[in-house]
Symmetry: C2
Subunit: 555 residues, 2 copies
Amino acid sequence: MPLRFAERADEAYSFPLTIGHLLDAALTTSGDQEIVYRDQLRFTYRELRQRIGRLASLLSDLGADEGMTIGVMDWDSHRYLEAYFAIPMMGAVLQTVNVRLSPQQIAYTLNHASAEILLVHRDFFPLIDAILPALPGVKAIVAIMDGTDGPLPAYAKGEYEALSAAASPDFPFRDFDENAIATTFYTTGTTGNPKGVAFSHRQLVLHTLACNAPFGVTRQRGLGVEDVYMPLTPMFHVHAWGVPYIATMLGLKQVYPGRYEPGMILKLRAQEGVSFSHCVPTILQMLLAGADQTGADLSDWFMIIGGAALTPALYREARRKGMELVAGYGMSETAPTLSIARRRRGEEAGLEADATTLTMAGVPVPLVSARIVGEGMADRPADGEARGELVIRAPWLTQSYTGDPEASQALWRGGWLHTQDVASIDAQGHIQIRDRLKDVIKTGGEWICSLSIEELIAGVEGVAEVAVIGVPDARWGERPIAVAVARPDSAPTLEAVNAPLERAVETGRISRYALLDRLELVEAMPRTSVGKVDKKALRARFAIPAAEMAMAVKA
Amino acid sequence: MPLRFAERADEAYSFPLTIGHLLDAALTTSGDQEIVYRDQLRFTYRELRQRIGRLASLLSDLGADEGMTIGVMDWDSHRYLEAYFAIPMMGAVLQTVNVRLSPQQIAYTLNHASAEILLVHRDFFPLIDAILPALPGVKAIVAIMDGTDGPLPAYAKGEYEALSAAASPDFPFRDFDENAIATTFYTTGTTGNPKGVAFSHRQLVLHTLACNAPFGVTRQRGLGVEDVYMPLTPMFHVHAWGVPYIATMLGLKQVYPGRYEPGMILKLRAQEGVSFSHCVPTILQMLLAGADQTGADLSDWFMIIGGAALTPALYREARRKGMELVAGYGMSETAPTLSIARRRRGEEAGLEADATTLTMAGVPVPLVSARIVGEGMADRPADGEARGELVIRAPWLTQSYTGDPEASQALWRGGWLHTQDVASIDAQGHIQIRDRLKDVIKTGGEWICSLSIEELIAGVEGVAEVAVIGVPDARWGERPIAVAVARPDSAPTLEAVNAPLERAVETGRISRYALLDRLELVEAMPRTSVGKVDKKALRARFAIPAAEMAMAVKA
């Protein structure tokens, strides 16, 4: 028999999962709740809704329409929050521009996304001056003066707050297909130009709903009606991990810190009672150092840490200051959240157990299917030991890299999104990221995890920082080498660096194939725009060219 | 410009919101977690998944297919949980049969839904004996012997556990359209036959995701990974309010109590560590009385109370026993949850404040749009005082009454679902139900709320129970009368019953039109199948026939 479908009353409302609907309950429960921007501005959710209407009206006056891409270049602000709603609610596409890319890359992403209107903070006027001639598709620019009175650049159609104040709050938003694109942004891949990803209204609404669930289920701390939220992840970075949408849906008080300055962040934390944030380990370290200098109280500040591994050492330091942390895991292609850490069932709160469990990548949030697979996408056992590539299904994964069918095909090979991360999963679903697949070194038919080798070397005297990479080898396919930054007045040797590896080989913890061939010392690690060690650059620098390699084999 | 849509990689997985996906994360995080049925059976989520496959296989062997309706007549059990998943996951329609209806009504609903296969607990064999001749569409019946050895009825194709054990766990579930109907059941309306409602996979998945959010956001208590769930709302009743789907999605330990017996419920609560339940006030009263008799410990048992108003007195009694309660609100047509109570922002926990705030109907859950409207669907102010009909939009509302376009049209008049409840909403979104619209009495152009009149009369000496109804009146349109059950050896008079009303008229609390015309004493209140006072029956009994009314006007 065919599937059955319900009849619909003529006037029955067919509810699309569009971003505007995230405001519905919030406006009922939290019309008088506050949104705060630094020490400059505060307004209520009722006013937020009006400001969203005004932004849509002013953009419409500038020619914005359904399907048009509108780029935002701003720090974390109430303006960005307004853009998160107004632009998608118009049926337009919000491009969250990664301002940390090079000017050439930024111009590339704006052109690739066909951005026609830009909202630009004054800090980026010099950048726009430099790239505007290369942006023939941009028809209008709104200047964000951020409370200052300076003259507008000649290319600006007006100033954000002034245009907004003059525009109508009553923009006629309409319902439309929930599969329409809401946002787009670019991720720095391993090769070539940045790659575009896009997310639909439906995907973002489902991400918002499902990623809220763990805040309740951890039970160690629910995100509550009394919580005050402040993002410490750039809003151009995968929707600040989607948390502004969650905080708005729940009607929480929100605080936006603008450009990240430790003094302002700690002041806002104290004055506004911020209790819930999220950031990368680098920002957490900055805040801990700031608190050391100023004596600021960080206690009862709950944070989700992602973007890079949260080390047990950093976790312990934050806990000693009274903070609560859990690690989260995801990527640009996944909107981003896939998993959030929580205690194991039956595990009591305790510093050492937490420093292990809560620094892992977490357990899958609802609706996330996570598998670890080996060759031919065969499942590896979920025993906490076996490793395989982590592959994912969820209702909010990018369906392609924009205009790049080949990379899209690789991303979705076999019907599962390939994270390119090597992970283990245990019986309670705790995912542990063991390595980046592209960092995995395959030598003599054996896989070597560079991350675990790096961990072993990290304790070697004189080593400040280390990266292990695979370099081509005519005989073994690839061989591991270490690139290290030495501590002042130190000069670690290959022998010293290999010593803990030899001990680990003896205890069977690693394969003998993992012993390093070379040690290279560098002044500083090259880093990607998001602060990760740029192993692609290291490989390019330290690989022996193929011609020389061929000679070495002959010799 | 047209809306923009993302390209899709050929192999990209297009994730449908189907019920089977609620199991994905749970099987990763909670494969070894337990499902318990009374003191008879316990198994893990891994086995649950196998049992779901077995149930689908056995139904398929009996001729089940996509689009077929399969009815379940059982108490709250692991079998029902299996049916909640297996039947919709096959693309078939689960009919949750309300076994409290009359035999004629049950036969009507099975025929109306075109049920072809039934799963029937032995307690309902006599019922089936009585109605089977009236069920020509039923092709197969599976008997649920519930651990007993008695002979199967002649019409049974086999026994649930035996057939299940013999069936394959590897049923080839496939993806399909998320808008396919997953469940159907019948609601006793105010007139005529029970009305069918249906819910799609998409609707139930969204209900599950959104209704989980308040468990975190209340902060007074999140539903946590250590929680043990036991339903105390029949599973034929609006999916036991959808909580079995939430508990399964979160991978919680679940306990199913079978037929409700206070001794078994309290034993399971103690032995299995049940911490989270939901029920109607009647069941809560039964448990409180059971604890009084046995000394059972109810402390730290969290419950959502719905289906009827939670009175502050009952709330206080449960709190004194250490329970935590919040009221919830919804209806059959809304899957059911629309709102869940929580403390106001800035309100500390405290018995008296909680007895007010947490017994109201709660605040809208995410994605619920709630309005109160007057004539012409004009908005009434959200000031906590103004009253209007509560109308709703949400992504999980039934789109029609099956095969009843007229009632469907009335339900969705103006594009909003009409709850027929009169409510106020305050500035923090707290909904307070003031009356059922059909219980509202309109006399001389004035609305009278029967609920508030009943509250005034409830304290009158000698009155055990009272219902106020409107009866037709040639002069005033309608006039209010009271129907009361007297306490033993009491005989309350109309004068006594009107006394508190007269005082309330004097203080301006009610209109003088609310003074009662008549008092009728009855032995016991007629009740609907769900235990509510059957005002329809009262009106039919105490209305003066139109002919007599006409004579009275003439006289």
